[in-house]
Symmetry: D3
Subunit: 177 residues, 6 copies
């Protein structure tokens, strides 16, 4: 029995980890799909797919079940999304998500999808976490220790702070793109 | 004389239908271009191109003029938009639109474009219609009967309500993409 | 009961037409998917999607069943091809094809697909037909009359002959792309 | 010593020109990268790449240094952005930018990047300039004279006013895309 | 010390495995990049990225070093290829390849790349292997046992034979795309 | 009067230069479109757009007319090709080409296109030139002197020889993409 759980993991945090631990009690193997794989260096998506593969892999290394960390590019075409993730992933029997779009797409495709209400996720929101990283707040307590290591190693705090800036000179700059 | 009228038709509604009836008095044949053909399953674009082909085709079947329903993908490149729709459509002599961008692009390309001020479109706004579908209001009176049939057949109300949801568990979910 | 039949239709010819007539005896409605919709102006794909919509629509206008002519762009991703054509087309119950890749993809997706051995298609090969157009041979007898009209109207023979040329000056030209 | 300076140049204005004059004192040659090359006909990006090549080229023609105006398409993938601009441009030694994202990407790639705080850019903001064009205010004084000529030649004011409109009939139109 | 080795792995075979075993003696961790991730269902690329992730992962599971199997999509832009694989992969110190293009791209980017002449690879050519699968020859002896299991589980031989066919009816079919 | 001349310029050679000299007698300004801008590092397209901008710019610097070197990406959609090059280029009055496809596309769009039979181009074929570069033959005499400088500066001969190789170890390598 193989499960599938997709998220952007920007970065992988304790909320994700508890979801993974819950799923691990129901499956033998788990595929962690790393969505928006092509996005990086923005306030909402600061880390590359490769950096997120590291975060995820090192955070789940001690779990009993077999895990796969698979980057999945956006095709920006919802009607083929399920077929796309199925082609990028080892075959899975059940998907896990609390995201309404993901739930609807899997349902229409006849793939079993399970939801999970069990977590108070306010503090664990990716947005809250990235906000703390930008402001210089306490972010380390919101993620597994291996994620702290990876973020430090890639100078991730410096990166997210810089790309969240207005003009480095203080003026609003002329956006080149 | 062939006319061209493009819209997203999410879904095809009475405002569109009156525009088509007005155009039908001026042309022999009409191409209905279904724009953003690749978009679906979002609050603003809930239906696939194929579903919209059904809605349009069944709504205009009894008209005297010959009609074509042609999905047109977004190339996201305004400078080639006119060439693109011309390549996807049977050749047309005049375009109909109230959209400023469309009017400007056709004008720059030397294609005749006609506008139509005649309709009070507030209630017939696609946004208003989709809002009623989401809220469970009276949407059926805003569309031709065949559109009601198609939407019911594809469980369209359920779909637009679900993809408009925040987290299905009530929390704001971690967006996977 | 709705059928689906996809081809490039470059151009729509008598072999296609016999396939359509055979299918028409088994379904109530038929979707003709016009593949490689974005390709044109090459020896193998001389006509635009819009031109092919014209050829198909005018050739099947007198048939008893309801038909739809729908251009379908290449996504160049076989693993999502079935989902893609399903999103671009009115829902269909059975697909018709003699193409091995198409048959395999529909089969893997659990969509019923029917093949048709009944036609001697040598002379009706699209390649043979285009070769005659290029050489100035008798091509008109290989296509329905409406197709002859459309091709003449768009100066299609001149186009396919020119784009099949080596350098217009007789030398092999420096290919700009 | 060759410098690189990228902007959207919608349009090229006096703020850009002063940046170029400052850079010209530090390099022998300068590449002006015209970003978002594929975007046009919107309120924020009204002009095509070709039109911007004209504006830039004619505005810098009398400078002592050799300049290149090179359109650069968006790949929408920050992780390869530096490699992309390097492949589209003559090789450069130093980049100039005040944009935080650009500065971060060049820094991570080990390319020297210089910032410039010296200009009061409020009035020279591209957004302010486009706003004046839309409102019919005094925009000519914010750009080099050759840019006025190019904009007039292409009916640029008419274009940006029209694409900034709501529905040309006064109603909010049904957006076709 | 982390190494990087990219291949299409269509499928993963003994030649690949010996390369991996050789690399394993030189690094602590190894990333196996699965190239052309978006390609499948063709004679040259029969298996999806997900299926290849399975083949690779199960074949290297008993090795001492930590391995990552990462699908990498084609961007079809050689000038950004190195940046792209670096963004999709955990950071690596050395790349392994015998492919001239890959070697040249890594060299130009200043990434250390090692080649390996040690293997007689004639029989281990992916092309030879796929040819045997198509002809019904002995392919199982050319791949690790787990790969045989995966191929059998997905009916891979049936798939590659079918998509390698000419027309299923024996005639050369009209290619829909 | 502005002319437009597009080629891949891989690399810019004496045949191109004579065409440019001939065109220069008929126009006041000339745009040199550098086609397939995104392609590089292959035997047929060894140089990046930026490298080709250098070759072209330095070769025409002493001409009397004003010239623009503009990279143009492939959209792989012939039906919008003319609109695309027009959006990327300063407005031009006449195009120059000997390529049948280019001539046909400009003709259909109503753009004046002129051909040129005057040159014996056998030795000046891009293919012949690249073949000599690969074999180590005399290529320098086929290109303007500035092109020799640029190619030497970027180690262009080494690059084209390496990417034209079979496996660097002498075996045919497993193509990663």
């Amino acid at each position: 029995m193989r499960g599938f759980y997709i998220g952007r993991f920007q970065p992988y945090h304790n909320g994700h980890h508890r979801m993974v631990e819950e799923i691990a009690s129901e499956v033998d193997e788990l595929v962690l799909g790393i969505g928006s794989a092509g996005d990086s260096h923005t306030p909402r998506n600061p880390f590359t797919a490769g950096e997120r593969v590291m975060m995820v892999t090192k955070s789940v290394v001690d779990m009993d079940i077999t895990t796969y960390a698979v980057p999945i590019e956006d095709l920006e075409r919802n009607s083929v999304w399920v077929s796309h993730v199925q082609s990028m992933s080892p075959a899975f029997d059940v998907a896990y998500s609390n995201n309404p779009l993901v739930i609807q797409l899997f349902s229409e495709a006849g793939v079993e999808v399970r939801q999970s209400p069990m977590f108070n996720r306010d503090v664990l929101e990716g947005a809250e976490l990235r906000e703390r990283m930008i402001r210089g707040g306490n972010w380390e307590s919101l993620v597994p220790a291996p994620v702290v290591d990876v973020v430090d190693e890639i100078d991730g705090i410096e990166r997210i702070q810089r790309v969240s800036d207005t003009d480095a000179t203080g003026d609003e700059s002329d956006d080149p793109e």
